[in-house]
Symmetry: C2
Amino acid sequence: VTFIGASTDPTKWGFRILANLVDGGYRGKIYPVNPKGGEILGWPVFTSVSDIPETPDMAMITVPPQQVSTIIEECTAKGIQSGVVVTAGFAETGDEKLEQELVDIARKGGMVLVGPNSQGIVNTKHKLYPQMPPIFAPEGHVAIVSQSGNIISTITRQLITRGFGCSKCISSGNEADLHTEDYIEYFANDPQTKVIASYVEGVKDGSRFIEVARETSRRKPIILLKGGESDAGVKAVKSHTAALAGSDAVLQAIFKQTGIIRVNTIYEMIDSALAFLCHPLPQGRRVGIIAAGGGWGVLATDACVKAGLNVVELPPATTEELNSFMPAWWSRGNPIDLVAGIFGEDYFKVIETVMKSPVIDGIILLGMMPALRPIRVTPTMNEEDKKRMQDDIDTGITVAFDRIAEISKIYKKPVVIGSELPALSEDFTQQLNKTVAAKNYCCFNMPHEAATAFATLARYGEYLKQR
Amino acid sequence: VTFIGASTDPTKWGFRILANLVDGGYRGKIYPVNPKGGEILGWPVFTSVSDIPETPDMAMITVPPQQVSTIIEECTAKGIQSGVVVTAGFAETGDEKLEQELVDIARKGGMVLVGPNSQGIVNTKHKLYPQMPPIFAPEGHVAIVSQSGNIISTITRQLITRGFGCSKCISSGNEADLHTEDYIEYFANDPQTKVIASYVEGVKDGSRFIEVARETSRRKPIILLKGGESDAGVKAVKSHTAALAGSDAVLQAIFKQTGIIRVNTIYEMIDSALAFLCHPLPQGRRVGIIAAGGGWGVLATDACVKAGLNVVELPPATTEELNSFMPAWWSRGNPIDLVAGIFGEDYFKVIETVMKSPVIDGIILLGMMPALRPIRVTPTMNEEDKKRMQDDIDTGITVAFDRIAEISKIYKKPVVIGSELPALSEDFTQQLNKTVAAKNYCCFNMPHEAATAFATLARYGEYLKQR
């Protein structure tokens, strides 16, 4: 990788992005370029691209806007075939001519470009992290392409918090040369990628986008967050990435036709991605809700109905079987309220009883505490006791997830969990998230999140069947 | 406090709730009652209520449903004036007669009842935590009344995670005697309470509810989450708390008329509560968005428009002043994209420049990183370096919040922040949340959360003006 515009000034992106490339542990060679020469972060600085002793695979470019064309010319002369232009100040500020010039020079020289106005790219497998923020996601199966760099940062941080990682991140910027659809096409064939997450402000080549999305959706889910829904949002988009946001109604039709999963918030994007990574697709929309708390059951029911799921009546056989071991005052309906009276082995028995009903396509399970031994926390307990108790919870949770995953596998139906992980501190939550993620399982926080995730799985399952 | 139905079995609520009462550090006397006598958790057990040597202020009741009436009779004979009935198996399972019996006996004896089917209550000032889950929220200014106990747990945990606490929590259960509106009326006059959060499945005395809500809303905001919006949800409510959910359209009209702030999710409830605790009310709906990332600005703009806010044009004077120090390629519009080119002192200068514009009623600020010194994180950095760097971030964040709070105070307009706190681990996030909360400030995660919170403030401000 050559880094053109390398700097020793720690406040400049020419230093900060280079530092992330170095710090991230990239194992290949790095060739910083700056007319001043010298050394940066242990790497000798070349005064020009032509001086580099071999042909780099990729050029990171952070020089001022007026110099980018010249640099790209030098890169093509050197035989470099791909470049990431971080530099901003092109179409998004009105200079479309300068932007087109870059593309023309690059194409003539056989070079493809990411950006301009890109935050950088990430390839976790190669420990390649030349991007603005110092975020080093572990390897994972979510590929991200986003017309906003900061939204990549948010998505990545959220994935890490939940115990997950990603395969590739592309901050596509103004998309002067390569477009979102080009990256999606690449992700479709990328063995590291199982789910594609994309933030899009506008699509430049509509028909190709549709073609690629349709082709990709039958193999991997594409989750899309659209920026610029409102008139004010469209205006903001114009000055952000110069994208033409287009009519939202038209886009909505395109999304439906191509199987794209549209989400409304970044939270929904993360929840959907984890749902696809961790759960089988349900055969339909009929959901059984099991709640260790009546209020959670009510909220999940409302959210399910809103999301188009069917909270079906339990068949008599299921109700009868539950009667045999549920407390006398249980609700005898769906949602199944555990009425603060079901613990331990019975908890799993409820799940299995509902799961085997032929009218149920999957379960939303709210609350994990009944699976654990009762705990006594005190506000004044010492660190040692806290640690011991957390270990106890941790073991219990691990066993519970194993049991639930097993039931899900036997019946080939998803069990989507909505529960706060019972951690004594945020630090433990992080640890628990990792434990759960290592089992390729996930845990949503809130009832409405579990419902939305289930609905996403169901809709994608229906799309695949229609195809 | 007398605890009737006390148990030594750690799997029973008669032990677990009592343990939370003891562990929570309640400083008054505790009188466990169980016919078997003995000692539990260091307190001698009385074989009957009549044997207690003084008149307790309150009775916690966890005996089986058929025994509750008798116990209440004994309590009234003893002169006890308030009771919390945890026991379930009354109206919610169809036994309305048994439930009415409790109320009749209690009223005849001059005793008020919480529940039945209550999870318990909390009063943080008195360290009184007799409730099912071992959650010990610190003192704070949010009062919670909820027809679901588990939703109280979720709200409380979320408040704690964000660094906040609560004043009182009431799990009102079936509301056979005291209703949601009674608790709201009490909270209206409670000096510890600044914001009221309520989860409601149904209202039993509509006209009194409206009267109390109207009277309370002019003094303190009431944030309400309604369970049972859908037909399936209404059915779930019936078997949960036996509440009559009523027509959602009618309720919506009532909420509007009474100034109640209706939220759709628990996240929105928490965000709204923190917004009220930490921000002044804006004078109108005109918002300035400052984003350290174009995508965040676009998403916030869409969310603002959806929430009924007005992302106004910047007046020429503001644009000109910003021109004087913003990078040449800045967007010259609202949202104001900091285009990865504004750091340190200039960051606060942007905030102040926008703040002083007369067309702006408040600011949504996305991203805190530009306020901090550039940092170099590496995936392999040692614990000591991590700690040192986090201290550095922590200090920077503290200073930044102070500066922003000061600007907010000078111009008497809210600056609602949406930013991931730049922490190196979840543990530090918790710490940062506490630091921020200690300053009576809060930080939302996502652009749409900041927008929703701002809109909530604006709507409540309008309601107060109309009154």
